[in-house]
Every structure is written in C-alpha cells, then in structure tokens.
C-alpha cells in the first residue's frame, strides 16, 4: 500500500518535472551548456592514436523482448568481434517502462549511446539540444543512407536537419482471413463484396458453421475498429484519423463524404449481431485467440499471427479441420482497399545523444556499427539471419535457414536500420511466402500521418480517444448518424481539431502532397 503510494507520488513528480522541462526549454539548455563547454578539453589531451584499438563499450536501449543472455547471444559476440566494441543492448518489453527509462536518462545526463525514440520524443529532445545533429556526418554514414534510402532519411529530419536514423520501410501484413471450412459447411462462396461479407458474417453467426448445434460463433472480429478497415477501404475512406490524398487534395478521413456511408454500413453489420460483441474491448491479440479457438469466422489480422507454425499447430489442435483462407478485400462503392497503410511511418528510429560529440572515438564506433549492420557485404546478413554456415547457408545466391535458426530468433533486435523487408521475410518465412506476397499486393489507401508533426497545443491522445468513443456510439447505434456534423463541430471546437487539420494540410502541401 504505502509503497505503491510512494511510487504514484514519484511518478506524479516525474511528470510534473518533465512538463516543467518542456515548458522551459531555455533553462534546460543553459543547464546542459556548461557541461558541454567544460569537457572537450579532456579527451583532446589524450593521445587519440593510441586509444583507437581499445574496445569501447556501447550502450543501446530500445523496446523489444526475448533478448538472450550475452553469453548465448551469438549476434552480439559477432558484432563485438567485428567492430571491437562491447555492445550492451537493453530491451524493454513495455513501451511505458521504456519511455520512463529514456526520460530519466535524458533528464539526468546519463545518455545511452544509441536509443530508439518516437517522433514526438525526437521533436522534444532535438529542441532541447540533447540530440546530435547528424547532418554534418552524412558522409560518414553513407552506407547506412544507401541502405535505408534517401526517402527514409527524411523521416528522421526536424527542420531540415537529420537527428535520427529511421528504419528502412516495412510492408503491410494485414488482410481479412476467413474460415474456408465454415464456408464449405454452409455452402457459401468467398465474399467478394461488402454485402456478401455482411451476409457471410451473419451466416457464420446464425447458421452454426461449426456444427455443434449451439449458437456460439460470430462472424467478424479484429482489434477494435480495425476489424472494419477493409470496409472503410471499400468506401474509399481511410481509418478514422487518417490523412490521405483524394481527388488531388489532402483529406482527413473524418471529413471524407463517404465516411458517413461507411459508418452506416458498419452500423448495419453490428446491429445484425454478426460482429464480435466484445470487439471494442479486444486488446492485444485477443482477436487472434478468438479466431484460433474457433469463435470467429472472419478476422482482420496480420499473416504472422495466422500462419506461423506455432499458431497453425494451435489451430489444428482445436479443430483438425479448421482451414483459414486469406482473402482479398471486399469491393464496395468506393473501390477495393484493404485498410490504409501509412507511407510516412517508420518501424522505429534511433538517435545519438549530443553529449557523445566529446568522445569522437566512441561516436566513430556508433557510426561503424550503423554502417556495418547496413552493409550487405558486411554485417547486414548477420543481423538478419545470424552467423553464416551456422544459422544460415548461402548457396548460389539462395539463402536457407538451418535448423539452428532458432538461436537467432532475436536478430530483429539488432536491426537498428531495418532490413530489406520482402527478401528478408521470404528467406526467413519460406513457408509463409505466399501469404506475405498476398498481403503486400493488396491495394491500400496511402495514409500520410507519419509525415505530420503534431502541432503544439493539440492533444492527440485526448482527440483520438474522443474520436474512438464517438465513432463507437455511431456504429453501435447509441447516437444517430444525423448528428455526425455535430460530432465534427465538437471535435473542432473543444478538441482543437482545426489546429491539427490546418497544420497537417500545410505540412503535407509543403512535402508536395495534394498541392
């Protein structure tokens, strides 16, 4: 009791202190400035040539999990050997823990040498002068830049300066999956349009597809409203909150004229009882669990969670006849789009603290590391597939994982600059290669949210929650759709959404979208 109280108290204090920091940038800068000017003399007096072959300890922090102990981590050992470093990677499974750790370390000046951060943190820390401006070092990072591509470099920019290295682009994984055996039992065809989708979902709910004479199944599930992403797509609408270009202009999904139609259709589906009644309460992978347990017949989910051996085995233990089929997005009045895909987003970005400037040798090793793991002739294969001839073999240009590949299942934690996504997945998930291609080939609405920096004075978390709540009311028939305009008005006035809309339009126009 007492302890949790004190933790609560200290967390509150932390929040107060951090907000004080972001409010008073100037005081923060003057606070760190003296340490910057004091120290450079120290390393300069040391002989740089002598020290260049000493092993340097690099500390890297990021979110992640399943990192093995250092003595079992062959990727760490190989990187250490190749670069003469002692790499100390720490991963935090929970995003909140990670944010706390990073904030504490940034505030106390105990900087890690390379760390993952969000776009929001990137803006904040770069304004506070805590991050190293990488623009002058671009030459030294050439291999990294070649690997991630010029477009991706832009994603780490703030006001024209590069403050972070973003990971190379990813590909979409999500599609609708449907129970083929249920379709066969009920003598139905794979749904091609949204009307058919609604019909099949209703049949899955009411016509007892699993043949146990109980009404214990339902049609559609997914992670909250994302279950309807392809339905939104069929109306040509992005998911609520998305920005995209339509008819040559930047548009927010909520202001898309087709949004109301999409909501009306979803409302109809929900009222027919064919949608997971706990849809909005699904967190994490609950929709996947429900699908595996045979409770739902259609799910909007990524291929790994449906096709990895671990899950296939689970599906088969529950019901040996179960067969999941990946299907194309249903067609609707607005076309055929399987959800929206944010082309501005990145799977992660890493920054280097400004303080490391004082230690050019260490900085060089950080660059070496980034270049090494990005170099196809260097360590790129190592952080993708592990050690050659141990974890994978390379014969005539085709790469094959060996049965020891399980030892380097954590290799993604070392992909600080990303990976060549398609080739990587094809090699690593040979069995799933069809599903990977299928998901990637689906037409999607190109959302642009990743390019937008949230303007000051706009609280994204509050606005998002409000949007989610109100959309839920509309689709669950708690509020008539005729009030949709009122909803937008409240959003603009009390949530300050206009600020975001204007700022987003301006930022996107500047980047050449919709102008």
């Amino acid at each position: 009791m007492r302890k949790s109280l004190s933790i609560l108290l200290s967390v509150t204090l932390l929040i107060v202190m951090l907000s004080a920091c972001s409010g008073g940038n100037n005081s923060k800068n003057t606070g760190t400035a003296p340490t910057n000017t004091e120290k450079p003399s120290a390393p300069a007096s040391q002989a740089p040539t002598e020290a260049s072959n000493k092993t340097i300890k690099l500390e890297i922090i990021e979110t992640g999990n399943n990192l093995p102990a250092p003595d079992k981590d062959s990727i760490k050992q190989e990187l250490d050997k190749a670069l003469n470093i002692d790499l100390n990677l720490t991963v935090y499974p929970s995003g909140d823990d990670y944010t706390n750790q990073l904030n504490v370390r940034m505030a106390s000046g105990n900087f890690p040498d390379l760390f993952m951060l969000s776009r929001q943190q990137l803006l904040q820390f770069s304004k506070q002068g805590l991050l190293l401006d990488l623009t002058p070092y671009m030459d030294q990072l050439q291999k990294t830049i070649d690997f991630i591509g010029e477009e991706t470099v832009k994603k780490g920019m703030v006001d024209g300066k590069v403050y972070a290295i973003s990971k190379s682009p990813q590909i979409p994984y999500n599609t609708y999956w449907i129970r083929k055996d249920w379709l066969d039992t009920l003598k139905l065809d794979v749904p091609k349009t949204i009307e058919e989708l609604a019909e099949v979902a209703e049949a899955f709910t009411k016509n007892d597809p699993d043949g146990n004479s109980k009404q214990d199944t339902f049609g559609l599930t997914g992670g909250k409203l994302s279950a309807f992403a392809p339905v939104f797509g069929a109306f040509g609408v992005g998911s609520p909150g998305n920005f995209y270009v339509k008819d040559g202009a930047v548009l927010n999904a909520l202001y898309d004229p087709a949004m109301k139609d999409a909501l009306a259709f979803i409302k109809q589906m929900i009222s027919s009882g064919s949608v997971d009644p706990e849809l909005l309460a699904n967190t994490g992978l609950q929709h996947q669990e429900k699908s595996i347990k045979g409770q739902a017949g259609i799910v909007h989910i990524d291929w790994p969670n449906m096709t990895k051996e671990q899950f296939v085995e689970q599906i088969k233990t529950v019901n040996p006849n179960a067969e999941w089929l990946q299907i194309e997005a249903p067609v609707g009045p607005g076309g055929q789009n399987d959800s929206s895909w944010d082309i501005g987003a990145t799977a992660g970005r890493f920054a280097i603290p400004k303080a490391i400037e004082k230690d050019p040798e260490k900085l060089q090793r950080v660059f070496d590391l980034l270049n090494y793991i990005s170099d196809p002739d260097g360590g790129s294969l190592l952080v993708q597939f592990g050690v050659k001839d141990t974890h994978f073999t390379l014969e005539d240009g085709t790469l094959k994982m060996t049965d020891k590949a399980g030892e380097v299942g954590h290799s993604w934690l070392y992909q600080f600059t990303g990976r060549p996504e398609m080739e990587y997945l094809q090699a690593k998930f040979a069995l799933q290669s069809e599903s990977i291609k299928f998901a990637n080939d689906q037409k999607r609405i190109e959302a642009l949210n990743g390019f937008i920096d949230i303007p000051e004075g706009f609280n994204a978390a509050d606005a998002d929650r409000f949007i989610e709540e109100e959309i839920a009311k509309f689709v669950y028939d708690k509020r008539p759709l005729t009030e949709y305009e009122d909803f937008l008005k409240t959003l603009e006035t009390s949530m300050n959404y206009t600020l975001l809309l204007d700022s987003a339009k301006e930022q996107l126009n500047q980047l050449g979208f919709g102008s």
């Binding site: 204090l13 399943n66 993604w412």
Partner: protein, 286 residues
Amino acid sequence: MVKRLDDKLFDSFVYLILIICGLAAILPILYVISVSITPFGEVLRNGGFILFPREITFTAYRTLLTESNIPQAFKITIWITVIGTAVNLILTSLMAYPLSRKNLPARNFFLLMIVFTLLFSGGIIPTYLVVKSVGLLDSIWAMILPNAVWSFNVLIMKSFFEGLPEELFESARMDGAKEFRILIQIVTPLSIPVLLTVGLFYLVGHWNEFFQAIFYVTDRTLFPLQVIVRELLMQSQQPLENAENMMPTQTMQMAAVMIASVPVIVIYPFLQKHFTKGMLLGSIKG
C-alpha cells in the same frame, strides 16, 4: 443454548459471504495453477478456461527452468531478498532503537526527519542522479541500498521497543551492559514478532523488486525475476511488432507466474501468526 432462527439465518448469511470471498481469492490461483500444468492445446479446446486439468504436463516448467532467463533471474531475486532483508533489518533496528530511548538528545528532530521522508521524496530523477553519482548503476546493490531503510518500518519498530518494560533496561544497565549489548542481548530476543513482521514487509518488497531494476539496471544478467516474468506476460498483450517474435503460450505465462509467486505463498503461513501480532503492535502505542 438453543439458537434462534434469525441467529441461524444471520450465521448462514455470514458463511455465505465468507465462502464468496474465499472463492474470489482461490479461483484465480486455481485457474493459474491449472492452466500452467495443462497442455496448451487442451486449454484452447476448452475455450481458454480450465479449473481442473484433465491432462497434466510439466513441460512449461521444464522449458522455463532450462531454456529461459528465469533460473538466472531467480538467483538474483533470492540474493536480493536474502541480503537485502538482512541489510534492512540491521539498519532499521539500529535506527529504531536509539529513537525509542526517551533520553536521546534531539529525539524530536530525528523523528521529524524520519516522518518527513514518509510524506516527501525527491522523485525519480534526483534519486536516479544520486544512485548514478555513487556508482551503483548497473550493480546488484542498486536494488538493495536505495531502499535500505523504510521509514514506516522504523516507526513500527520504535513503538515496539518503547513498549518493552523500562525495568529490563535498568537491570541490564546495573549489570554493566552498554547500549549495544542491551540491543543485541536484551531487546532483539524480545522483539522476534516485530522483526518477523518488518522482515516480511521487506522480504515481500524485495521479492517483488521491479521499479529499481527497471531504472537502475541495464545488464540483463542482473534482472530480477519480476522483470523477466513481466516480459513474458507483456508480449501477448502487445500487438505484433515483429514477425519473428515468438509469443509464449498461456501455459508458459501461467507457469512463470507460479514460479514467481509460489515461494512467497509458501512462506506466508509460517509467518502469519507473528504477522498479525506484529501488525497490531504499532497501533497500541503511537
């Protein structure tokens, strides 16, 4: 004496409530145990809910105890718990004893100093800076020393020591004992209940060590049990981040929960009688 009808009604009502409370406590534990020893396929076939396993397997425990970070984390946690609790008890009693003596100079000042820390703390960042500047970061002591004394426990112990009869101290002093000897040979043997109570507070605190580990330790080999267990549990609550992420099955997760909680559950019954006694100690005399 014959019980009247409404007495009986009242009694059965009380029993009913107690049974409900009891079930509310027992069912979750039973669920965790059952899932942890049932093959995962069986769990899934039953819609994820099992109270009495029909098939028993210990593979989840075997995997966790041989192939994961848990054995190492277990060692760390035991180390922190044993050494930490010892350090706690020694420091706490050394602090509480002088404060319990009425003739201590500036007693009120010292008491105020302790009570102050109950209400106010420096917050995370200053504490972090202190830990960093004394060089404790990334060491096992970072999880022991920052919380070496918990002021609330000092007050409990102080009250207990004050309750000891003054005559004992007088006679000891007459026999020539100095304060240290009094503390070790007179006070400590008489204070077993309070030592056990306070010790249990500390012990559970150390066993559940999480925040300090997250903040002060980055070396994976030093992570205590709770951090590792949380890692296992968190994975299934987050949507997919990476295709190759292996998700532990529910059976594995529950087995990890059992490994983390059984030791404390086992210790509790043995200490409980002292514990209830000790809890009341502070309340008689403030």
